[in-house]
């Protein structure tokens, strides 16, 4: 009999799993343990409307307190799990309290990668993962003019756009030869570089940061080519690493995340994992992936919750993602990996276009800029493994769903 389910990590995945367990009629105890002392909340606005002040903090939580009370979800907030004993089926919290479980779900999320160069420990160097991080950034940029963002990925660019809208002078330093280089087509990178520059943001590609300098607080960012950028505040967005130490120290297999199967099961039959912290198979794309997105955290958490109740369902959905920068919305469906064709639809100069990726004629991914129709059509076409006609795809006057 399963009488107690413990969920460690109260982010997108943890909160969703608790919700699903109750909706599916689980009547036993549900404990949701989270290091952050806050009701589970959404992270995407942190670099967007919450940072700018447009969205108040009380609009970030997924659910308000009465929801958890009504559904008898026991919240243990401000509680960090420090060790796990799979044999005894116990989780130990900082402070010594131990929680016994019949089934355990790990939704540990990911942590911002730290900068390791000299000067990285100076005051004024920030990361952006949690609400507490944003509170610190907001305080710092109130008194600052020059913000240097290290890393031109989604979080770096979103933060750059928001800081610019708040009146800062902003420079983005990107190691690769274009922004968004790991996650979008070159034409999409060019488009966003252009948008940011048009708004007065400085973007330096091929910029290898070697040192941060300053007396008390950071004042200069030094690059390998000898360039020196003045900074009052530095915000680092160089990716995130899965939080898997709790699992690996307990002997569970981890490699770029906690290894799970398509049922979200770890090697231990009583332990499941979901969200940013997992390395999981994608049957559809024929490979293992670790995905950091709201969609993946939600879907995996739902799957895991059902399997905690022995329902035997698999996680195999078409991933999707979005990013907001100024008035541009990037919408992504699928995974643009191992493709053999990349087709542009529409004219980037119109500020509404998309890029379609084919593999053996089948549509596997679409990046749509200010084009919700192509994006929504793509989610359906990719799910149905549709073979497409490249010539018709490039005719932007034809709806994407008819380009078959």
């Amino acid at each position: 009999m399963i009488s107690t389910i413990v969920i460690v990590g109260g982010g997108q995945a943890g909160a969703q799993a608790a919700d699903t367990l109750r909706r599916e009629g689980f009547a036993g105890r549900v404990l949701l343990v989270c290091e952050e002392p806050l009701l589970p909340y959404q992270r995407p606005p942190l670099s967007k409307k919450y940072l700018s002040g447009e969205l108040a903090a009380d609009r970030l939580p997924f659910r308000h307190r009465p929801f958890y009370d009504e559904h008898r979800i026991e919240l243990k907030l401000g509680a960090r799990a420090v060790s796990l004993d799979p044999r005894a089926r116990r989780v130990e919290l900082a402070g010594g309290e131990a929680l016994a479980y019949d089934r355990l779900l790990l939704c540990l999320g990911a942590a911002a990668r730290r900068l390791t160069c000299p000067g990285a420990e100076l005051a004024g160097v920030h990361y952006l993962r949690s609400l507490a991080d944003v509170t610190a950034i907001q305080a710092a940029i109130k008194a600052a003019r020059r913000v240097v963002i290290i890393g031109g990925g989604y979080i770096g660019l979103e933060t750059a756009a928001t800081c610019r809208q708040m009146g800062c002078e902003v420079t983005v330093l990107e190691l690769a030869d274009r922004v968004l280089n790991r996650v979008a087509a070159p034409v999409v990178s060019q488009f966003f570089e252009h948008e940011h520059r048009a708004k007065g943001i400085e973007i330096n590609c091929n910029a290898r940061v070697i040192r941060l300098e300053g007396s008390d607080s950071v004042q200069r960012v030094m690059c390998a080519d000898g360039s020196e950028i003045r900074a009052d505040v530095v915000i680092v967005g160089v990716g995130a690493a899965a939080n898997s130490a709790l699992a690996s120290e307990a002997g569970l297999a981890c490699e770029n995340g906690i290894i799970v199967d398509e049922y979200c099961r770890t090697q231990d039959e009583a332990i499941f994992a979901a969200g940013d912290c997992t390395n999981h198979p994608s049957p559809r794309f024929g490979r293992r992936v670790r995905i950091e997105s709201v969609d993946n955290a939600f879907e995996q958490a739902k799957t895991a919750a059902l399997n905690l109740l022995d329902r035997n369902v698999t996680h195999d959905r078409v991933p999707w993602f979005w990013s907001d920068q100024f008035d541009c919305k990037l919408l992504i469906a699928g995974l643009a990996q191992d493709f053999d064709q990349q087709i542009l639809r529409g004219d980037p100069a119109s500020r509404s276009f998309s890029v379609c990726y084919l593999k053996g004629g089948e549509l596997i991914a679409v990046e749509a800029i200010n084009h919700s129709k192509d994006y929504m059509a793509a989610r359906k076409l990719i799910a149905e493994r549709t073979h497409m006609c490249p010539a018709k795809i490039s005719d932007a006057t034809l709806p994407l769903k008819e380009a078959v």
Binding site: V294, W322, S372
Partner: protein, 108 residues
């Protein structure tokens, strides 16, 4: 506060006193309305806050922007009276509004 009725997928009529200024989606989420997922939190990127609006109320909700229109076109069973809950801001004259939550959310 305007009273808004959400008819959930199983037919249950959930009546909510919704504060003015937030969106229909937020009112639904805060009150745990079944069938509203709102994964993107109102960014107009997920189409999981889809509702059907009682026809009499449609005009008073204002027009859809192009982005919302595009999202709804390939949402699950869109209708003439489809809206994304996150794009509708609650105003004081919405007292009595009724919306129906579809059987499914998202693409396909």
């Amino acid at each position: 506060m305007p009273r808004i009725t959400f008819i959930e997928p199983d037919g249950f009529r959930r009546v909510i006193n919704a504060p003015v200024g937030i969106t229909l989606m937020e009112a639904a989420m805060q009150n745990g309305v079944q069938g509203i997922l709102a994964l993107c939190g109102g960014a107009c990127a997920c189409a999981t806050c889809h509702v059907y609006v009682d026809a009499a109320w449609l005009p008073s909700l204002g027009d859809k922007e192009e982005m919302e229109e595009g999202m709804l076109e390939c949402a699950w069973e869109p209708g003439e009276n489809s809206r994304l809950g996150c794009q509708v801001h609650i105003t004081s004259d919405m007292d009595g509004l009724e919306v129906t939550v579809p059987q499914r959310q998202g693409a396909i």
